[in-house]
């Protein structure tokens, strides 16, 4: 009785399996990418806002230190190059997954 019932159920379910769908795989991968993009965007915006606020708060002290210790010894071009190198190095230090 149990076996007959099991066979009947298995046969019904086996006949009604959805076909393998490449579009389903694409939809899943697209959803994963969308989530990742949204998460990274939120992180980047959050970090940028944090940095702006920190910089705004620390600006008076930074300006003092800047004029007293850095500006007399370093040229503007070397500061620009250092900032550019740091910007280019960031994605290498924190690579995106896959």
């Amino acid at each position: 009785m149990d076996d007959r019932m099991d066979d009947r159920l298995k046969a019904q379910w086996a006949a009604d399996v959805p076909t393998s769908d490449p579009r389903f795989v694409l939809s899943v991968m697209a959803r994963i990418e969308q989530r990742r993009f949204r998460r990274e965007l939120a992180t980047t915006v959050g970090l940028a806002l944090g940095a702006i606020i920190l910089l705004g708060l620390a600006a008076p002290s930074v300006e003092l230190v800047w004029h007293a210790s850095i500006a007399p010894y370093v040229s503007n071009i070397s500061i620009f190059l250092t900032l550019m190198a740091a910007t280019m190095a960031l994605p290498l230090l924190f690579p995106a997954r896959d």
Partner: protein
């Protein structure tokens, strides 16, 4: 290479961050998971969305997967939990909207499904339905089913036996 070994190899690569490897896992398991969720929900559109959510969750939490264990029960376990979350939020929504008849039967069976069986399945408790679907529909062992549903082995065996009896009674009445 056995399917289990292949799963483990792809899961290892996915854990290391390979989206291609995870794509392979989606390709391999999509049919089984979609069939399981479709029969669990009784509605193809909900099931497709849940299956996608399940895979997305699996990718985002792939680090939690233990490669020493089989991948399939882990994946179907996520699907089961997603189904229960979805059902709870759906029932909450119905209750908020004042619809008193927020019952299991509110999941409208797809006309494309075998209606007798679909109706009979919807009359089972969700755990019984899931246990039957995994053991008979997806060829899981009782132990794998217990792992996927996070239930004790004895409970799973009892769900399968009782579910089978109820289905036999329901289908016997319809189909003779």
């Amino acid at each position: 290479m056995t399917p289990h070994e292949a799963d483990t190899a792809w899961a290892h690569a996915a854990r290391a961050g390979s989206a291609d490897a995870f794509g392979r896992l989606v390709h391999i398991h999509q049919q089984g998971l979609r069939a399981f969720l479709r029969r669990l929900c009784g509605n193809a559109a909900d099931a497709e969305d849940l299956a996608q959510e399940t895979f997305v969750f699996a990718w985002e939490h792939i680090a939690r997967f233990d490669p020493a264990r089989p991948f399939r029960p882990w994946l179907f376990g996520i699907g089961w939990r997603k189904y229960r979350e979805r059902k709870r939020s759906w029932l909450r929504l119905l209750t908020r909207e004042g619809r008193a008849a927020a019952t299991e039967a509110s999941f409208v069976p797809d006309p494309g499904l075998k209606l007798d069986l679909a109706k009979a399945m919807q009359s089972l408790a969700p755990e019984q339905r899931a246990a039957l679907l995994l053991c008979l529909g997806a060829e899981f062992t009782h132990a794998e089913t217990a792992e996927a549903l996070a239930l004790p082995l004895g409970t799973v065996k009892s769900h399968v036996a009782r579910g089978r009896e109820k289905l036999a009674a329901a289908l016997g009445g319809v189909n003779g």
